[in-house]
Every structure is written in structure tokens, then in C-alpha cells.
């Protein structure tokens, strides 16, 4: 009998792509998708395509119904992707937090009762390290955050990780992977940072140029796939891993590569602007995002490469380039700026006698 994989958060891009990918994995018999709404982009399988069956269970994770789903389908692998900064099925921070934290508690409670469960994969974020001026430049998995995230998605993720550690103590027979993803980008990424980069003018914090790391959605899906299966020889896929593309981009570099002018603002002014945007529901820009845009965050991915055994195909630069290619041109396209300097350089190359 093959594996039965339950995926939460399939209404979002990452969940939908992962569910699609794991269906094509040999040895997987059934994939159960869980969310408030069905996944938007699952195409019907081609005839003769060896894909596992897919069932969508419209379950609100905040209710205990999830235990019934685990038992009904005999789920042995749970991939929990429902901890997110925003949720398409919820408006307002309070209900997002409820889905993140209470939803995870319900799911873990159901997992604890399930006798068939063998493996649990939880998506977390590098946001759990926080972002302050007193933090080391590069976080390893063992680094303790100087200050716990004060709110927002990062705090939810830190709390969920705490519950997962509790679960691990109570069910030592279940293999658990906690994957701390850097900022997800890729064509059509639906994350707050992607929303930020879509602004025509990028508000930045005056006097700070944060270091950012990105993870391509394809790499995220591949890491999830490996974590949901038995580990390859000589690798370990249980434990906590930072997942990010190699290398670093500064926010100023990102803005220039996108061709979007920046609008440096004093720190507090940016906070007010973000609060205003939140009040008017223009954009959900949390304090934690401002922390990231002030001090930046870089994680060490040695464990991912050497223990988990995966080197992301896209570096931070490449992942961002793929994202930039998919987003509209900015007000100052780098190509046009480069053309100006190229023309000037051409003029200089000509010998003076010719002119």
C-alpha cells in the first residue's frame, strides 16, 4: 500500500504546486488537500498520466474535523503549509492568526491521536529569528533569536514551532521536519514581500540597506517533496533546516534590478505609512516586515546542503531574476539606464581624430 499524504493550505500557490508535485511521486497512492477553499490551479490529469488520486477536503483547521479526515483516509504523512502571513480565506489579522496557531494546534492534536502517522513536515519561516541590529549577520539553525518576534506571521510561526517541539516529545515515533523558508519568490508568488515589490515606488527605511535572501517556489516544492519521503542514503531529512537560495541581495540592488525607484523614509514615518495601508486595507504590511526592511536577515544553509542533501537550484539572485522577469517593468528599467552609460562609453572609445 502506498503513502497517503495530507497537504494543508492547498488554496495557496505553494500548497497547490506541492500537491500537484507529490501526486506524481511514485509510491504515493492518495493526496488529500485541505483548505477552506479548493485549490485553484490543479489541472485535470492527462489520461495515462501516472498520478495519484487527489481528494479535496474542505475543512476549517480551527475545528476538530481534521481528526476525522486523518482517520478516514488513513493518512501517514502530513505536510502542514497552512501557516502563512495572509490567508485567502480570511480577512484581518486576528482570523489569520487563529488559522495559523489554533489551526496548527488542532492539526497536531489530531496527529497525536493518529496511529498511522509516520511523518510530519511543517513549513516555517526564517522570520522566527527576528531582525534587529543586535543579531548576528548570519543565523544558523541553533541561533537563538535575541528578541522573539513581537507579532505577525513570524510570531505565529515561532509559536507553531513550539507546539511542534511539544508534539515531537509526545510522539517520538513520528519523523518531523521543520523547514524555515526564506522569502518565497517566483512567478506569481503571493507573499507580502512580492506585494511590496509590486509597488511602483518602493518605500525604504532611510539609512538602512537590508540584506535579503530569496527562495524560489520550485526549490521550496522540491525541499518539501524530499522532506515528505524517506531520506536518501547518507542524508537526514528530520530536524530543523533553514531553506534559502545561496547568496544575498541588498534591497537597493533588488530595487535597481526591478527598475523601481526607492522612496527612503524615516523609520517611524514608514511605520505610520504601513499602519495607514493596513487600516485602509491597501496592503498588509506588518511591523515584522519593517524589521526585515530595516535590518535584513540572512540564514546559513550549510545544514540544508550537507545534512539534508539539497542545494537549491536557484540562488537568491536567480530566484529574484525569475521573479523580476514575471513582474511588470518599473519606472526606471535597468536596460534603459544601462543604455545611457553604454552610449557614453561608445563615444569615449572613438579616437579623437575621427571626430
Amino acid at each position: 500500500m502506498g503513502k497517503v499524504v495530507l497537504v494543508t493550505g492547498v488554496a495557496r500557490q505553494l500548497g497547490a504546486q506541492f500537491a500537484e508535485r507529490i501526486r506524481r511521486q511514485p509510491g504515493v497512492e492518495l493526496v488529500v488537500g485541505v483548505d477552506l477553499r479548493p485549490a485553484p490551479q490543479l489541472p485535470p490529469p492527462q489520461p495515462g498520466d501516472p498520478v495519484a488520486d487527489y481528494v479535496f477536503a474542505p475543512v476549517d483547521l480551527r475545528r476538530p474535523a481534521i481528526a476525522g479526515v486523518l482517520a478516514e483516509y488513513g493518512v501517514d504523512t502530513v505536510v502542514h503549509l497552512n501557516v502563512s502571513a495572509t490567508n485567502p480565506g480570511a480577512v484581518g489579522r486576528a482570523s489569520v492568526k487563529e488559522i495559523n496557531v489554533i489551526g496548527s494546534m488542532q492539526l497536531l492534536g489530531a496527529c497525536q491521536q493518529s496511529a498511522q502517522l509516520r511523518r510530519l513536515v511543517v513549513k516555517s519561516t526564517t522570520g522566527v529569528y527576528g531582525a534587529t541590529s543586535r543579531d548576528p549577520a548570519v543565523f544558523t539553525e541553533r541561533t537563538q533569536a535575541k528578541t522573539l518576534p513581537s507579532g505577525g506571521f513570524a510570531k505565529d510561526a515561532a509559536e507553531v514551532e513550539g507546539y511542534v517541539r511539544g508534539f515531537a516529545r509526545r510522539r517520538p515515533d513520528v519523523a518531523i521536519s521543520v523547514l524555515r523558508f526564506a522569502n518565497l519568490v517566483g512567478p506569481g508568488a503571493d507573499t507580502p514581500l512580492a506585494e511590496y515589490f509590486a509597488l511602483p515606488l518602493l518605500p525604504t527605511v532611510l539609512g538602512y540597506d537590508p540584506r535579503l535572501q530569496f527562495l524560489h517556489v520550485e526549490d521550496a516544492v522540491e525541499v518539501l517533496r524530499r522532506a515528505a519521503l524517506e531520506p536518501a542514503p547518507d542524508t537526514v531529512n528530520t530536524g530543523t533546516f533553514n531553506v534559502a537560495g545561496e547568496g544575498v541581495l541588498l534591497l537597493s540592488q533588488c530595487a535597481r534590478r526591478l527598475g523601481r525607484p526607492t522612496l527612503p523614509m524615516l523609520g517611524p514615518a514608514l511605520g505610520w505609512a504601513a499602519a495607514l495601508a493596513k487600516q485602509t486595507r491597501v496592503s498588509d504590511f506588518s511591523a515584522e516586515q519593517i524589521g526585515l526592511l530595516t535590518h535584513g536577515r540572512v540564514v546559513d544553509t550549510t545544514a540544508l546542503r550537507e545534512v539534508f542533501g539539497y542545494r537549491p537550484r536557484y540562488s537568491t539572485t536567480e530566484a529574484f531574476a525569475d521573479f523580476a522577469a514575471g513582474s511588470g517593468p518599473g519606472l526606471l528599467p535597468p536596460g534603459r539606464l544601462a543604455a545611457v552609460t553604454d552610449r557614453l562609453a561608445d563615444l569615449l572609445k572613438r579616437p579623437p581624430e575621427e571626430s
Binding site: G207, V248, L249, P334, L344
Partner: protein, 331 residues
């Protein structure tokens, strides 16, 4: 359109930036044409006279640099170190200060290995961390491989806007064990000024008296990474800003560790911030190896304290020797 054509256009009729008569010409072309016009006219020979013979090559390099900067096409490492910006801009600005103003004599540069991790430990003085910047210049310009010094800076640096950003781009990071060890293990030259604010903000009367060397965290990092420690003694920085007094209450209000009162600051306003043109010597001492100790030696407080003292004594004695040799503060 070529420069040859451009020659016949008189300067007065060069297309203006936003002229309605040429709306279809792209910005790049318009800009290029106006520059060509200028160079073909009187500006060409003038530029050569003012900027020197090879000004075209230098301008071409400058344009290539500008192109990379405005399109974001450059690399930074995980710590935010922007090598290109550091070499082309920051060190270029430091060089005249080091060579012409402080006339720094660099000694014992052969004690910095050409490759591999090394921890440079130096005395700190002079109100502003000019000594640290000058050490960065000395190591870059005098080592054969033009190595970059990665300094461990106080947390205040990264709290302050602009300064924190510049420090990261120049390759510096927060003084903490994680970063120090990570940089040493990557084989970088790491610089540390263990006296910290106690050293840089000490009164003029205490000049060249080494303060307490922190808690020896830097020695533990070197032991863990098994890299040599190079003691570095800097003479001349103490007299750049003779700190006669300290406005402690005002400093506390401003949230800074000290507010210096020098013979010129704050009495002369911004002019008072100009350092005195003292003559400097930067002496790198013989490396103190740490690889004969096992890696867990970093957990042995006695060994860490002894090594810390050894480094401190070496720097202090070298300072006294250099002071005796010095003819005058300014020459």
C-alpha cells in the same frame, strides 16, 4: 549617429533635454549627442588639460562602474560586504587621508598571512574609530593579495542609520562570537578592537595605556577557528583628537557612550571635527599561533585569559617601544 556628425552641430543648437522638437529621440541618444557635441567642441581639449592624458580610459572605467551600480549588477557577500564599492569608493577616499595627512608608516605587514583566517587585535584610540579605518587601508594596500579587513564593530554602529549601512558595505559586522567565528572559518582577516569604547573614549591623560580587553571573546573565537592572532599597535591616533573632557550628561541624553571635549570641539563647530595631522605608525606584530591547542581549548577560561593577557602585553610593550622611537607627534 556618430561623433563625426556631432561635430558640425554648434553647441548652441544642441538638442535640449526636454525639447519638444525631438520627442522621438530616446533619452540615451539625446544625452549621448549632447556630450558628443561638447567634447567635439571646446570641451575636448579642455578635459584633456584638466583631467590628464588618460582621462578617456578613466572615464570609461567610471562609466562601467556607474553602469553596474545603477543596474544593481554587483555582488555582496552574506555579511553585506560590497567589495567593489569598498575598493572603488571607500578606500579611494581613505587613501589620501592615510598617505598624505597621517603619513602612516606600516611595519610588519609580512605578519599578515597571504591567505587563510587571521585575527588582528589592535589598540583603540582617538575618539572616532579612524584607527580602525586606517588599519583597513593598511592591510588592503600593503598586503600582496590586497586583503580586506573585516572588522567587528560595536552594536551602536548598527543601530545608527547610514553608519550601519556603510559599515556592512565596507565588510564589517557586529562584534559577536557567531559572526567572528563564521568570518574566521571562511578564511578572512578579522579585526577586533577589544578595548571598545573604553579605549576610544579615554581621556588624553591616559593615552597609550591599554584598557581592559573585554571578556576575551575574541581569543575564544580564534581558538575555535584555530587561526593565528596578530597583535597590532597603532601610534599617532591618540593625538588626533585630544580628549580633555567628557560631557557625560549630554552623552547620556544623546544615547552615546561619551561626548568628547577637545581643544577644538565643540568650540569651533564642524571645524573642530578635523583631526590633528599627527604622524602615525601601524606595527603588526609576530603572529601568536593557536592551532597547537585543541579546539575545545576555547572552553578553558584560564587559557583564554592567559592568551588575552599575552596579546595585551605584546601590544602594550610595542606601543612603549614605538613611543620611545618617535621623534615628534607631528613628524
Amino acid at each position: 549617429m556618430t561623433a563625426g556628425q556631432a561635430k558640425v552641430i554648434p553647441i548652441e543648437s544642441a538638442p535640449s533635454w526636454s525639447g519638444p522638437e525631438a520627442p522621438s529621440i530616446p533619452l540615451a541618444d539625446r544625452l549621448a549627442r549632447s556630450v558628443a557635441t561638447l567634447l567635439a567642441g571646446r570641451a575636448g581639449p579642455m578635459a584633456e588639460a584638466v583631467l590628464g592624458k588618460d582621462w578617456e580610459d578613466r572615464a570609461a572605467n567610471g562609466l562601467a562602474f556607474l553602469r553596474r551600480r545603477i543596474t544593481g549588477d554587483y555582488q555582496v557577500d552574506e555579511f553585506g560586504f560590497d567589495q567593489e564599492l569598498t575598493e572603488e569608493v571607500l578606500l579611494t577616499l581613505l587613501r589620501p587621508l592615510a598617505e598624505k595627512y597621517f603619513r602612516i608608516e606600516v611595519r610588519g605587514i609580512e605578519n599578515i598571512p597571504t591567505e587563510g583566517g587571521v585575527l588582528v587585535v589592535a589598540n583603540h584610540s582617538g575618539v572616532l574609530p579612524l584607527d580602525a579605518l586606517m588599519t583597513q587601508w593598511a592591510i588592503h594596500d600593503h598586503t600582496p593579495g590586497h586583503r580586506h579587513l573585516r572588522m567587528l564593530a560595536a552594536d551602536l554602529v548598527f543601530v545608527l542609520p547610514v553608519l550601519g549601512e556603510l559599515a556592512r558595505k565596507a565588510g564589517h559586522t557586529l562584534a559577536c562570537n557567531e559572526d567572528a567565528q563564521a568570518l574566521l572559518e571562511r578564511g578572512e582577516v578579522v579585526g577586533v578592537w577589544p578595548e571598545g569604547f573604553k579605549g576610544i573614549g579615554k581621556p588624553f591623560a591616559d593615552r597609550y595605556k591599554l584598557q581592559r580587553f573585554g571578556r576575551g571573546g575574541f581569543v575564544a573565537s580564534a581558538l575555535r577557528a584555530r587561526v593565528p592572532i596578530v597583535p597590532c599597535s597603532i601610534v599617532g591616533a591618540e593625538e588626533t583628537y585630544p580628549m580633555l573632557g567628557n560631557a557625560k550628561t549630554l552623552a547620556r541624553l544623546l544615547g552615546v557612550p561619551y561626548l568628547p571635549l577637545t581643544p577644538t570641539f565643540p568650540w569651533l563647530g564642524p571645524l573642530g571635527a578635523i583631526p590633528l595631522p599627527t604622524k602615525w605608525t601601524i606595527q603588526f606584530g609576530a603572529p601568536i599561533p593557536t592551532d597547537q591547542h585543541p579546539a575545545e581549548a576555547a572552553e578553558d577560561p584560564m587559557l583564554v585569559f592567559n592568551l588575552t593577557d599575552e596579546v595585551r602585553e605584546t601590544i602594550q610593550h610595542t606601543l612603549y617601544r614605538l613611543l620611545v622611537e618617535r621623534r615628534s607627534v607631528f613628524f
